[in-house]
């Protein structure tokens, strides 16, 4: 009896803390899902934080491509309500027609190609402050804590979703809401048909503020994500 009362108290306190930190519980009827299935459950209140900056760690060109694909998949649901995305990339590497596979109309995305990290982060911060946008994706080399904090502050005002594709393997701490790592996996056979199957990734949630980390195997089928396999690290949230 005592233990139950204590648990309830702790749950209520946790909810309060979440609210103070800016995570509002969603209205039960208006719950927008991003089609990420059980991945969304790993986030506080079970909602993918839209007004936040997510970072994706991409060590190689292949991982950067996989990360780009995953982000584009999320972008497709974000852009369904209308709106515009901005993709800040390096030296015109991104191939616009590829976005159609993920259900994003490439002409709804504005590409800004820059060579310097400093410029890219400046543009990203300005873009994140712009209320008219839906999502901003930025490819950078390095991201330090101070910069990530600035991005996070910009986002909290405008409620734009930010994705940072980091090109370094050195993992310093940042103020981003979540840290992802996406790797490609061999695709599964399609009923014994030759050729490639659906795009398949291993999605790792390395770090998430007020949530649970985990690993999932995800596929992109036609126009939505399908979770093939999941491992969630249930761990006690560190308080204080």
């Amino acid at each position: 009896m005592m233990a139950e009362a204590k648990r309830e108290l702790i749950e209520r306190l946790q909810k309060d803390i979440l609210q103070w930190e800016g995570y509002r519980p969603p209205a039960s009827d208006a719950r927008n899902t991003l089609g990420l299935g059980s991945i969304e459950a790993a986030f506080p209140n079970g909602v993918f934080p839209v007004a936040a900056v997510h970072e994706l760690v991409c060590g190689s060109a292949e991982q950067a491509a996989a990360g780009g694909g995953f982000v584009t998949g999320i972008l497709s649901t974000l852009l369904k309500q209308g709106g515009v995305g901005v993709w800040i990339g390096r030296s015109r590497r991104l191939f616009a027609p590829a976005l159609t596979v993920f259900g994003v109309l490439p002409h709804k995305v504005i590409f800004i190609s820059l060579t310097k990290d400093k410029d890219a982060l400046w543009v990203m911060e300005e873009a994140l402050k712009c209320v008219g946008l839906t999502a901003v994706i930025c490819e950078v080399g390095e991201l330090d804590f101070k910069q990530s904090r600035r991005l996070q502050l910009a986002v909290e005002q405008s409620r734009v979703t930010g994705f940072v594709l980091r090109n370094d393997t050195q993992l310093n701490s940042t103020a981003c809401a979540a840290r992802w790592q996406i790797r490609s996996l061999p695709s599964a056979d399609l009923n014994g048909l030759p050729g490639l199957g659906f795009l398949r990734w291993q999605v790792e949630l390395l770090k998430v503020r007020n949530g649970q980390t985990g690993t999932w195997v995800l596929e992109w089928q036609q126009d939505h994500f399908v979770i093939v396999e999941e491992t969630v690290m249930i761990e006690e949230r560190q308080v204080g």
């Binding site: 491509a65 996989a66 191939f95 590829a98 159609t100 490439p106 002409h107 873009a127 490609s184």
Partner: protein, 493 residues
Amino acid sequence: MAIWFRHLLTDGLALRRPQLKELPFVLVMPVKNRIVITASSRLAEQQGAFTGMAAADARAAVPELVAIDDTPGKAAKLLRLLGLWCLRYTPIVAIDLPNGLILDISGCAHLWTDERGYLKEIVLKLRNAGFDARAAIADTPGAAWAVSRFAKISPIVAIGKQSQAIASLPPAALRLEPEILERLQKLGFRTIGPLLSMPAPTLRRRFGTTLLTRLDQALGKINEVLTPIVPPVPYVERLPCLEPVRTKVAIEIAIENLLSALCLRLQAEGKGLRKAILKCIRIDGRTVQASITTNRGSHSVSHLFKLFELQVAKIEPALGIELFVLEAAKVEDMETVQEQIWALDRGLADTALAELLDRVAGKVGAEAIQRYLPAEHYWPERSVKIAVSLTEEPQTAWPEQMRPIRLLNNPEAIEVMALVPDNPPKTFIYKGKRHSIIKADGPERIGREWWRDGGEHRDYFVVEDSEGQRYWVFRSGHYDGGDARWYLHGYFA
């Protein structure tokens, strides 16, 4: 107001070579096997060497005559310089070849008390500089031209008194061609007066329409269009400073003041600014410039100020700036957007987005920002085109084929092993790393557009290696052609 430089070329030359001042000299040019005088100085003219004479004849009259070769186009250059100097008296100055300037002085003369003071000021300044100038003020450029060159009376024609002023002048004062002048001479028209009272059809039948046009222009019945040497900018704001300005804050305040004045005017006329130039005139006489461009017309002070804020660092005040001039080089009509309580999603037509892109363009350059539209080409490098404007919609649908999310700018050569010549590769080596291929899709043959460029077609394969990484590789040309090469062209997600 018309200004006539009687010895334009020779005065100009004498200014550059002061030793010529005391000598009778002429400018000469060969015309049909004769050396003809094209311009003669005042001293030479007094001694009997006139323009149009053969140089040899003139030498007989004036033994110490100095002849200098004339360069064509000199007059236009000199007049342009003089015209630019005259800009301090009026904004509209037009060149009147071969030896005059025409100034539109409407609303300028009162700054020098009256027209007489104004004329005196300009003519005296020009004479002191060494130019033998005569000027006249009239309602029409034609009348002023005539009076400045031919009248022996007061150079200022009162309002509406053109016909009296030109009545006693010879017909040459009407800027007519030599043939017409000769015919008028033969018929005994010594002055313009009798022409004024003759019926128009008679004059047209005898002398053509030119004479009538010139008469009407002189009398003000037809408008004469001047071509100003510096085209006036319709939207311009000026801010003189009492003390020269040197600090960043002061420059920013100046910009803000200018912008708020300009934007107020633009707003009232329903216009939006597309391009603006800020000219800062320093006390050392130099001008420094900063310019901004916007994606969509704007008359928002705060937005335009933000764009200029990025440029302030480039303005070097040196000893101080004494005058700021803000010119709106390009404006366009603007649709007014009603402000909404609920921020509706306007997509690409959003003002906030356009303002963001303006700021980005101001910081890193407009060429960095791109929006792509599908182009009707299969060749991957040509399959997208860059959208011209923010709101341009695609004319055709985007292709459905699987395309790599990252495309290399130039395909990179790889080493490949395939079991059977036309099969997808079994392994490939790229940058020293071996990838063994488990699955592959293809080939997808993409031919070259022969009407654009020659070369081999490409057979594309989508391959997946043992780690699940997916690549876009192609073979250029046929296998049996002997020179088939393999390339990596992109990465799939």
